[in-house]
């Protein structure tokens, strides 16, 4: 199993050390090396796409064959994929529109612009409702911490809407609430975020060392 364990570990160590050194040497060759690595990554990614397509189609074929719950959705995957492939290949995406004006969209563009993008936008827009339901669950003052969170969230939300300036103006302090919101975001919030970021950086270094020295090998699927 040396080819499955030792060779990958040597490659990981050598490339890892070179990538680390790249940060500290100004040689133009170091940038060339990085560019080469990026290209390799893209080439491998290209091959990976075939694997992904095979996996996706195989999974949905199995679901249809076994008539699993929701198999009709799997059938829809094939309808959608076949439709896009056919219109994409047929007459450069123009389909039967042989004499299309220069500004006309191809059928392929049409499918992407008027089906794929609106569907994605729809899923994205659901986020607003999910946010509301998640906020409702979270902002219940069950204990002191939750109460603090509730007050801070209300102040930030209120400080971010134009009405806060009008309310502040009643008390002669037009910018009071926006300023409070900014203070919460710039100091306690930023401090906590930076704390998390610092911790993450240390964790990332520690994990990188474990990987470089072959202590952590589970990502290779070869066991400990």
């Amino acid at each position: 199993m040396w080819y499955k364990r030792t060779i990958p570990l040597v490659i990981v160590f050598v490339i890892g050390v070179l990538a680390f050194a790249h940060n500290y040497v100004p040689y133009p060759e170091a940038d060339d090396f990085r560019e080469h690595m990026t290209k390799w990554f893209m080439i491998i990614g290209g091959f990976g796409l075939f694997l992904g397509a095979y996996s996706l189609l195989h999974m949905h074929v199995s679901r249809i064959r076994r008539m699993q719950p929701g198999w009709a959705y799997s059938a829809f995957v094939f309808i959608g994929a076949a439709g896009m492939i056919i219109v994409g290949l047929w007459n450069d995406g123009y389909g039967p529109l042989e004499s299309a004006p220069s500004t006309a969209k191809t059928w392929f563009d049409w499918g992407f612009d008027y089906v794929q993008i609106p569907c994605s936008a729809t899923i994205f827009s659901i986020l607003a409702f999910f946010m509301a339901s998640a906020a409702f669950r979270t902002f219940r003052a069950r204990n002191v911490n939750a109460a603090l969170l509730l007050v801070a969230a209300l102040l930030v939300m209120f400080g971010r809407v134009p009405a806060s300036e009008s309310v502040g103006a009643w008390f002669g302090q037009q910018g009071f609430f926006p300023k409070i919101a900014d203070l919460i975001m710039e100091f306690p919030n930023l401090a906590a975020t930076r704390g998390i970021l610092l911790g993450m950086s240390l964790g990332a270094i520690s994990q990188s060392l474990r990987i470089l020295f072959g202590i952590e090998r589970s990502y290779m699927g070869v066991g400990d």
Binding site: F20, N23, Y24, V25, P26, Y27, P28, D31, G45, G48, L49, F50, L51, G52, A53, S55, L56, H58, M59, R63, P69, G70, Y73, D92, A100, S102, Q116, C119, S120, A121, I123, F124, L127, F130, M131, S133, A134, R137, I196, L197, L198, G199, M200, L202, G203, A204, I205, S206, Q207, L209, R210, I211, F213, I215, E216, S218, Y219, G221, V222, G223
Partner: protein, 556 residues
């Protein structure tokens, strides 16, 4: 108006004009030569040297700051390829204004944070920018005439192209016809470069003819058919190849230019007159050469910290080998992994492992795959089905390998189904739709959301919460953490994500690295507290003008 009045008005006007002319003359006269000389630094303070910690692309001219320079004076740094070029005026000038941005202190990346840097001006000399390498050959009227003579272009076409070459109308103001003509011209601009390739013997005659045919065809892209369309596509590929070749040649030429020796003179100027730095009544010419440095000195602190922290982590790994019973703080989210998988086993439902959007090049994804291997092993031990959803084919392939290995190690290789570790979609919201749809239909008992997430994080976790699954999330995307904390039962925050695999493995060497990580964190916390105290003292000193605090700090 009388004749006398008219004359008086003329006289008045003439007087005003004469005054304005005199004042204008005075203004044009600018700064006195004596003032320019006074603005010159002492010759001993002027130095020309290679810019430190760089890739050999710059020289630095440095000189001492002169106080009380009169307004309107700036510095001119004249750069030539040889000392004789100054006599023939073949030099380039770098202008340096007397602002704080020109001080050495404005660029601590290369010069550090020394207070003394505020007393020096610097000029950055970039040889490859001052003396740029020769560009690729341009399309000229002669090329068009040759194409007409070869009967490749008609006279009408040549007129159109020549008119377009002379036009400077911006693209957005062109009519559709003019836009098409400009596109055609862009294709034709390849002609001299194609001929260059042909002269070098790098393009056979048949390909040259094909390129010329495709370049000179004025038909719009969408009106082409058959072979012409194929030719146009091939020309686009050829253009990309030529562009890449030009860039490479330009870069190589720039490197050669940067390696040369350059000669530099420094002068104070008001825009018209110049006073040069002199020595023994001669203009001083400095010479220097840029070189590639071996180390980015400005990253020294970064390197020292990285090495020190690595040393601590490696030391604790060694300690853990000898003493496997190191104390590691409890991480609630990871303690819940067994609970979540056990719950799925009892309920007879599956475990979901949802990868984020990251690729295999991101550390968070590698951490997620590491966690997956531990979770998959536990699920395999309990004979519980694990479903892994992926957006990236490479991550999917790695995950398949990891899960298969986990099943093999658990002694159940036959229980592994590759369809359980499949690609769900390759775009963000298609992925969210596919995964949330499966969650609702299959109602898993436990969901792990681990990796790098973006806007889909709340869609996934809120849907998971609505199915009643126990959820454990972990991400390095700090903006998504609030969503996970809100909707998941346990969230791995920050470094806990990277610690997860080591924590779950319970392997002494891995736990040792976690201990080292915690020590590094403690060091950072102490450094921050000390920094806050020192900064507060500095503010207090400035505020109260309290010298006693300064003395106290010095004593301490």
């Amino acid at each position: 108006m009388t004749r006398g009045g008219f004359t008086a008005l003329h006289f008045l006007l003439a007087a005003v004009l004469a005054t304005v002319a005199l004042c204008g003359g005075c203004m044009r006269k600018g700064v006195r030569l004596a003032d320019l000389r006074a603005a010159l630094p002492d010759a001993s303070t002027v130095r020309l040297y290679d810019r430190p910690s760089d890739d050999g692309s710059a020289l630095i001219l440095e000189w001492g700051k002169v106080d009380d320079v009169v307004e309107g004076v700036s510095y001119a740094v004249e750069v030539a390829k040889s000392a004789d070029d100054f006599e023939t005026r073949q030099f380039k000038t770098v202008k340096v204004e007397l602002t704080e941005d020109s001080l050495k202190s404005a660029d601590p990346k290369y010069f550090g944070f020394s207070e003394a840097n505020k007393k020096f001006y610097v000029a950055t000399i970039l040889p490859a920018k001052l003396f740029p390498p020769a560009g690729a050959p341009e399309l000229t009227a002669d090329h068009i005439k040759k194409l007409v003579a070869d009967d490749v272009l008609s006279k009408e076409q040549s007129k159109l192209i020549l008119a377009e070459m002379a036009s400077d109308t911006p693209d957005e103001k062109l009519t559709d016809e003019e836009k098409a003509c400009r596109k055609w011209l862009r294709r034709l601009k390849l002609y001299p470069r194609v001929m260059q390739l042909a002269d070098e013997g790098k393009l056979p005659e048949s390909k040259v003819q094909r390129a010329i045919r495709a370049m000179t065809d004025e038909t719009a892209d969408d009106a082409l058919s058959g072979g012409d369309k194929a030719d146009r596509r091939w020309l686009a590929l050829l253009a990309a190849f030529i562009e890449k070749r030009d860039t490479k040649q330009r870069d190589q030429a720039a490197k050669a230019i940067n390696k040369g020796v350059y000669y530099v003179r420094l002068a104070a100027t008001d825009g018209r007159k110049k006073a040069y730095v002199l020595q023994d009544r001669e203009k001083v010419v400095y010479s220097g050469q840029a070189r590639v440095d071996t180390f980015k000195r400005f990253k020294l602190n970064n390197l020292v910290f990285a090495l020190a922290f690595s040393g601590i982590v490696l030391a604790f790994i060694q300690i853990a080998r000898r003493n496997p019973n190191l104390f590691i703080r409890r991480i609630a989210g990871l303690e819940a992994v067994d609970e979540a998988i056990g719950r799925a086993t009892e309920m007879g439902r599956s475990v979901y492992f949802v990868h984020g959007l990251g690729s295999m090049g991101e550390l968070a994804t590698i951490a997620a795959v590491n966690v997956l291997s531990r979770v998959a092993r536990r699920a395999a031990d309990y004979d519980t089905r694990i479903t892994v959803t992926n957006i990236n084919p490479i991550v999917m392939a790695v995950s398949q390998e990891v899960v298969q290995q986990a099943y093999t190690e658990a002694g159940r290789p036959d229980a592994y189904d590759p369809d359980d570790v499949a690609l769900s979609a390759t775009s963000q919201f298609s992925y969210a739709a596919a995964v949330t749809g499966r969650m609702v239909r299959e109602r898993p008992a436990a969901i792990f959301l681990i990796g790098s997430f973006m806007a889909e994080s709340l869609l996934l976790s809120e849907t998971g919460a609505s199915t009643g699954a126990i959820q454990v999330a972990g991400t390095d995307s700090e903006h998504q953490l609030p969503f996970f904390i809100t909707t998941c039962d346990y969230t791995l925050i920050g470094e806990e994500l990277y610690a997860a695999s080591a924590y779950l493995s319970r392997e002494p060497r891995m736990l040792g690295s976690l201990r080292g990580q915690d020590i590094g964190k403690a060091f950072m916390m102490i450094a921050m507290v000390v920094g806050v105290i020192l900064l507060t003292i500095a503010v207090a000193v400035a505020w109260f003008d309290a010298d006693w605090i300064t003395h106290l700090v010095k004593v301490l």
